[in-house]
Symmetry: C5
Amino acid sequence: MELTPQVRKILSWYESDNPGTKTNLARMLMQGRLGGTGRMVILPVDQGFEHGPARSFAVNAPAYDPHYHFQLAVDAELSAYAAPLGALEAGAGTFGGAIPTILKVNSSNSLTNIKDQAVTGSVREALRLGCSAVGFTIYPGSDHAFGMMEEIAAMAAEAKSYGLAVVIWSYPRGNMSKPGETAIDITAYTAHMAALLGAHIIKVKPPTEVVEQDEAKKVYEKQKIDVSTLKARIAHIMQCCFNGRRIVVFSGGAAKDTEGLYNDARAIRDGGGSGLIIGRNSFQRQREDALKMLDTMVKIFLGQA
Amino acid sequence: MELTPQVRKILSWYESDNPGTKTNLARMLMQGRLGGTGRMVILPVDQGFEHGPARSFAVNAPAYDPHYHFQLAVDAELSAYAAPLGALEAGAGTFGGAIPTILKVNSSNSLTNIKDQAVTGSVREALRLGCSAVGFTIYPGSDHAFGMMEEIAAMAAEAKSYGLAVVIWSYPRGNMSKPGETAIDITAYTAHMAALLGAHIIKVKPPTEVVEQDEAKKVYEKQKIDVSTLKARIAHIMQCCFNGRRIVVFSGGAAKDTEGLYNDARAIRDGGGSGLIIGRNSFQRQREDALKMLDTMVKIFLGQA
Amino acid sequence: MELTPQVRKILSWYESDNPGTKTNLARMLMQGRLGGTGRMVILPVDQGFEHGPARSFAVNAPAYDPHYHFQLAVDAELSAYAAPLGALEAGAGTFGGAIPTILKVNSSNSLTNIKDQAVTGSVREALRLGCSAVGFTIYPGSDHAFGMMEEIAAMAAEAKSYGLAVVIWSYPRGNMSKPGETAIDITAYTAHMAALLGAHIIKVKPPTEVVEQDEAKKVYEKQKIDVSTLKARIAHIMQCCFNGRRIVVFSGGAAKDTEGLYNDARAIRDGGGSGLIIGRNSFQRQREDALKMLDTMVKIFLGQA
Amino acid sequence: MELTPQVRKILSWYESDNPGTKTNLARMLMQGRLGGTGRMVILPVDQGFEHGPARSFAVNAPAYDPHYHFQLAVDAELSAYAAPLGALEAGAGTFGGAIPTILKVNSSNSLTNIKDQAVTGSVREALRLGCSAVGFTIYPGSDHAFGMMEEIAAMAAEAKSYGLAVVIWSYPRGNMSKPGETAIDITAYTAHMAALLGAHIIKVKPPTEVVEQDEAKKVYEKQKIDVSTLKARIAHIMQCCFNGRRIVVFSGGAAKDTEGLYNDARAIRDGGGSGLIIGRNSFQRQREDALKMLDTMVKIFLGQA
Amino acid sequence: MELTPQVRKILSWYESDNPGTKTNLARMLMQGRLGGTGRMVILPVDQGFEHGPARSFAVNAPAYDPHYHFQLAVDAELSAYAAPLGALEAGAGTFGGAIPTILKVNSSNSLTNIKDQAVTGSVREALRLGCSAVGFTIYPGSDHAFGMMEEIAAMAAEAKSYGLAVVIWSYPRGNMSKPGETAIDITAYTAHMAALLGAHIIKVKPPTEVVEQDEAKKVYEKQKIDVSTLKARIAHIMQCCFNGRRIVVFSGGAAKDTEGLYNDARAIRDGGGSGLIIGRNSFQRQREDALKMLDTMVKIFLGQA
């Protein structure tokens, strides 16, 4: 399928990448119902590692099966599916070629309080499993942040040399208040750091209107940066990611009911966000409900809902 | 010997593995009296490292000899024999080909309180000794857990690239109550993490009905997850390991008399567990008693006892 | 363009370097309006990493775009442009060949108090992006100083073997008073250490007349080292960098108004400093103002202002 | 010289080793007056590193010369000579081929209290110097024990791949009482760990009848393990080293007079110990005395004294 | 120039080294006015790193120039010149072949209290710069001593494999009294450790008659080791370095006036020391004075003063 102008434009932002990496970015951007629009919806399933299997899957027992998530992403015609090593290994043979995959190469868990993650995957494993990208979480603000940045810096360089794309989940931790973890200044900063670290795709949480750092507050006030609406905040995040030259996807946010999720998605769309990465809200409901919800999400980004 | 349908089905779960690794999994699954049934009984002997030689072997002095354990596993027609480097080196020449072996590549000991293990073997050593798999212990919950996960992640990738299988012993430590170490939620979680780390075979202890973590408790209660019987708990563990798509073996449990062990084994069987890994209960009794006990265990998994 | 005698002389100082590294030094020394004079003005943009995007760019919003800085450096006809990985990746295709670039290979950020930086780039990435040099910050005085020195020592050796030049930002931290961080003795010392570590280009802040260390104070007084004017202090720094055999560039200093910046630049010029590295003062003002200011700076080093 | 049945039997224990390693074991087992008997007396000289040169050699000044020790081992017709890098370098040219050498690849010293050792040699250096084996000390019980085990595990694998033999000095440290460091249970345990780590030759101190660990005490009492005489304790150690399938050598022990040393040696012989490793007692006396003492030791192991 | 018997004898001590390393040792031993005598005077210039440029060079301003030191060593016809990376890079082109150089591959500085050094050079850099040797400082007694020993052990092995010589500066630090740092027992011990680590040339400070360690004191008294004169102490140090089979050079000592330095040098000569390594006393005086002083030093070792 020929690349659309929207996708060609996005690929042009990644002007230093080799054709292999651009091909893998294109694979995700051309996949599914949003294929060619320049928007993405990604299904990530690392809840099992983060919170354990029962807390993740018991509410919708078929989701214990790794095939379930591949199938859900395929049937919902999403852009990509992201998961840790074992989960991809369990389905890469059956679903290879059906949907682009992102190997989540580091993971934390709820049995520890250490603000770090274990590196559990590698570029070579991503290649072995036919993935299009590696995904890595950094915790800016944590005492382990420098180490995590060094890990992804090395892994990103290796990934790019092999033609893979790089996705960075940038989650602030430590050295800040709890509300600060989703503050607009902090979120913008951590997104910007992910861009500087060489991410092709950046994942952050939808920011609140809190401004955490005193020095930042002065600037936000003096420069009258609009943080009053989610749409405005999303636009600010995009600006902070190379003036919109990077793909930035957002998680579903704290909204609890489905309508709230849709409204968040509309704000992300209207603010110029690249799309969604939506895990728990996808697989922690009945499959039919999930497909309906994802259908609406896709429609939102198609401008049809 | 042609693979049975049961074994073919199990191998199909490992859809991303190369033929070398599948061959080694098949070697263990086709070995001994349970060969072809999809069930396994493994003899592990790392007690000498963990607790010292006298505490491990004095009660049955012939067991001081590494050949004793190879011979026991061969004579009991078990699925595989697992031991640390030196112990395999001492018998690999004599028993090479007689029974699949698993090189236990890390070990702890009773002279330390550090919740970590030393890496004492490697993939290259496993290949040199003709092993079918490497075995590795992780301590989720320990301050060293991330490091241990990174060690096995790297070693598992190397093992798979050389056609070996990977066994992970997943033992919770630290950051929890003592009963929490065998709690159903914790055991299910640590088994799931082993699966996500890419283990082909997972070893956990039979869980109790304790639910340790508050967040988990809410889910177990709300979703009415049955943890009332060992059989139900085993079924839950299997579900938490990719909905039954991974081999999970259980240690003999805390039961003290032989009949209790048999009942545990029946519950493991009936819950869908893949089998047993049974060390101290095997070699800390007279050889004739051990053979009789193992014969019964095998019969239980054959549905004959 | 044929090398000028001034540039030939400077290249002669780097008598142990291979032709590749000399070529890259020459590229920077022959670039722009100061090309051939032996003086340099470099545009560095790592404020986004250090302080976040809004604090860095909101005052002049076009600067959110990585292309903005490349274009500014090109239009102002500067000697080189220095930035972290992601920022160079975002423009290396468009501006490759238009201006020499320096990959800033380590970075700190305002979310941490740890006096260290994360290594976020590499020699291989610098080569991939067509850079002329790698840039690295050390924090002499910090508890992490030895580690940082070992990182740049290894990276500098690698860079030189591939024909790249090495720029060291030498910033004292820890184990001293706040005024000590810009004291003349400390600045001279940290510049000298950068030279001993093998830097081709050294970046320090313009020093004050404070002398921090007691042992140094004795020498400065006894030897009547003139530290009374910025010009004299610059001359002392140059002397401390192999008696003037190394390129040393200075940041704009603490002067707040533009005229103060110009006077600092004149003192740097008159003291024999090699030039300026001027970031925030360049991009945190309107483009036209910046071009005007940079034009004056260039003129100062051309002896025309 | 054709291998004797005793040596052939010992080599058969090392059934997983390549011919290169067996050759080097045979070199030591066939060397000197005990050659062919299956017994060994080794001269180790690392006292200079451990306690300094004056404390080690002043009492017998010719021993300051590295050649002295080579010559002593040759003239006493011992099995092998073990020393750190520099000491072997100083004599390897003169004495190459005259006696098998063991490169002691890690060393501690009396200027530190840290219960670790520095790795000061390597397999490549051992090969360069024509050694038959590498020797490594572990401190089970120390906080550094896991690290030391990982170092020797990696080095032993490398050594074996190049056809060298591996000697482990296993000395308990930390986490125990002072008498516990030579307790029978601890000594047996640390010898067993050395065997599991893949040592061909294990070196421990002659154990006392103290039983240190509570859990062990129960077993020693219940199983009536005889620890009443040194001979019985030696036999127990041998049993704990793969039921006698490993070479175990003992240091001279705490006995102060020469007759006491002889009696210890007789107990080691009668308990089935493989031999002695006898340093200070050899070189801290006049050469003639040393030769006489070593002559008696050899005779003891020949059953002639 | 044909090697003299004295040099041939010295080279014979290094019986395990390859011809490349022996050639480089010979280069230093055959260089300058002491060439062929078996004695050496080395010019080391790492004061700039250790104490800063002004404290090192202001008293004799031409010494700010790296060429100054090369020229001084050449004009004084010394044996070798030792300096950190940047200083050698700055003169290796001009002075290559004029005098053997030693790359000082680790360095400390006065801005830190950590008793360690940063590794700032490498074997590959030494080869690139045409050096004859690498020089490394260890701090026995420091908490970092094991790490430093492991660094030089690895680097020395690499250096020897490439035909370079190895110089170890052995300076006791920590775990002792201040006078203990130059005590005879400690100095002898640290010199011996350098020899055991494989140094070809050992550098220590001239020891005082203090005996620091209690255990050592007993031996020094009982064995009546003469430490009453510097000559006797030097002789003891030489004995402790493989009974005189290693080159040991001494720094100028604590003597303040020039005549005192000469007397120290005579004692070093008469005690059998191999020579001097004399930095600050060389370059912290006017060039003519320095040349006169060095001329006298050379004459002392020629037996002419």
